[in-house]
Symmetry: C2
Subunit: 322 residues, 2 copies
């Protein structure tokens, strides 16, 4: 009996991604054991062609971004990766070479981040591609980092640099001069999940998340979960050299950097007494962290102060699909 | 700070579906514990509007079918449900009432099957809706049922009735006379995951799966995993009364019943010595089971014998997306 094209495609491109417990992606489900003394952490994020990535993006980076935005959710919980399930609805007529490159990107990042595929579903859609990934990880019970727990008086910290991804998208759309092979586009296409830092924050950070919808909007989530406000200084927010250059050329880009999203940096709260500890652990994890403000008593609002000390007015809190 | 429409939609429709460990669907991931002595079972299935369900299908049944086809994968492994993550890419402009009804259907079946939402992602697509669900379950280590393990000489068993869903789809497409509120359409829209039966087969069934792509094609999977063939008798395959009536009116429908898919019945192998045991456990689980043939030595091929004892020629082994 010959196998239909669907199974041949899975065997050719996706079976090599399968890990232990995946039963070769040939069964109805994967079966695995969670190590004793670890809690299971699960998250799911989807990417739609033309919405979360561009049709012209290299398929390798599409696969890698799909995995990385999910790994970033594990990082935000302080968890370590275990495996993933992926459901792909490819646009009808997608070239086999596109799918092969997409799978190659996944394979590369699986090796880099130490996880493997556990299962999924492969189908087609008459519309643009819909790619969905569910990630599984584990965490020690006392190391779970959640959005709730910041207190008025805590510092607001952020990892890496903010706004690169939002600017990279503008470069790709031709709205901003820049190089499609440059730093900003690379940051849009290949976010860096901060797994080492997320794991290192256990016991010091009081609350945290990864910045996906924009710094200001996501800080608002920490405020609402804590029942307090936050004030950040725009001048303290870390920007990359290419982002600083873009901002120098057009100061009106500042709100884009602060609210644009696609950062996948960790945003977290910690007590002022733990500043040295946070910096030591971040250094050990090989990631820069920056204090950009503090949590304050009062309503769950985020205030951004400009270089002039005045409250900035931001038209949009961040990215929304609706 | 006002919340964007996306968060309001999640809060309104999906947060009420959240279970323990889901952190109110407000965090980056869910955190949960797998009970000691149980293995984790995970599977993912996606449904695309116009491919896996019809745009005119009631949204309640779309949500319920999405959950049920995934529950069926747990049933096929002998596992019990724990929770699920769902990523939805709704078509742009989908009415709030549609999403509300979709969520109501999920809520109804969550209660019926004893599980809850653990997380997910809500987005939009300019194309038809893509709905993806990852299901988590648990199983006792010695009760895992996989596709591999049938032996030549084993019986081929199937639960319930075959072909109803494929005929129901034809009714909805106007290709077959019938009632849109009748049994066949109901079976297409609301498959019945055989969780009790799957759990009851532990230690007796040697291999099994759920029939989603068509009886003949899915039996081929058991043959390939076992390295042997199978022979089934078309006259022994269980059909519902409405399916028998359709077949009497048009005998050319027989291949549709045998290869059409959308059955979500359990197809499994067991030794002839265990016939009474299988029947007793199925009776206790409240599900009819039928012996439809046997596994035979030789190549991994499925032979269907017609009422005349001759080998039937089936144009297509089953459903494929590509």
């Amino acid at each position: 009996m010959s196998l239909p094209a669907e199974f041949a495609l899975i065997a050719r491109h996706f079976r090599p991604l399968a890990g232990e417990g995946a039963l070769g992606l040939a069964d109805d489900a994967a079966v695995l054991d969670i190590p004793a003394g670890r809690r299971l952490v699960v998250a799911a994020d989807a990417m739609v062609e033309g919405v979360h990535y561009l049709p012209a993006d290299p398929p390798e980076t599409v696969g890698r971004k799909l995995l990385r935005v999910n790994l970033s959710d594990l990082a935000a919980m302080g968890a370590a990766p275990l495996g993933y399930l992926m459901t792909t609805s490819f646009a009808r007529g997608t070239a086999d070479a596109w799918i092969a490159a997409f799978a190659r990107g996944l394979a590369e990042d699986q090796r880099a981040f130490g996880l493997a595929a556990l299962g999924g579903d492969t189908t087609v859609t008459p519309g643009p591609a819909c790619l969905s990934l569910t990630i599984l990880g584990t965490v020690a019970p006392d190391a779970v980092l959640t959005r709730a727990g910041a207190r008025a008086g805590d510092d607001v910290w952020v990892s890496g640099t903010i706004g690169d991804g939002a600017l990279g998208l503008r470069v790709l759309r031709g709205e901003l001069p820049g190089d499609a092979e440059g730093h900003l586009v690379r940051r849009y296409r290949l976010p860096e999940p901060r797994l080492a830092l997320g794991g290192a924050l256990a016991g010091l950070a009081r609350a945290g998340l990864d910045v996906s919808d924009g710094l200001v909007q996501d800080l608002g989530h920490l405020c609402r979960a804590a029942g307090c406000g936050a004030v950040i200084e725009a001048a303290a927010v870390p920007f990359s050299a290419p982002a600083r250059a873009a901002l120098a050329a057009d100061p009106a880009l500042l709100p884009v950097l602060l609210t644009g999203g696609d950062d996948y940096e960790l945003l977290f709260a910690a007590a002022p007494a733990d500043r040295a500890g946070i910096e030591a652990r971040a250094a050990a994890a090989g990631v820069a962290v920056t204090r950009i403000g503090g949590f304050v008593p009062g309503a769950a609002e985020v205030t951004v102060r400009g270089a002039d000390g005045q409250r900035m007015s931001l038209a949009s809190g961040g990215w929304s699909h609706f």
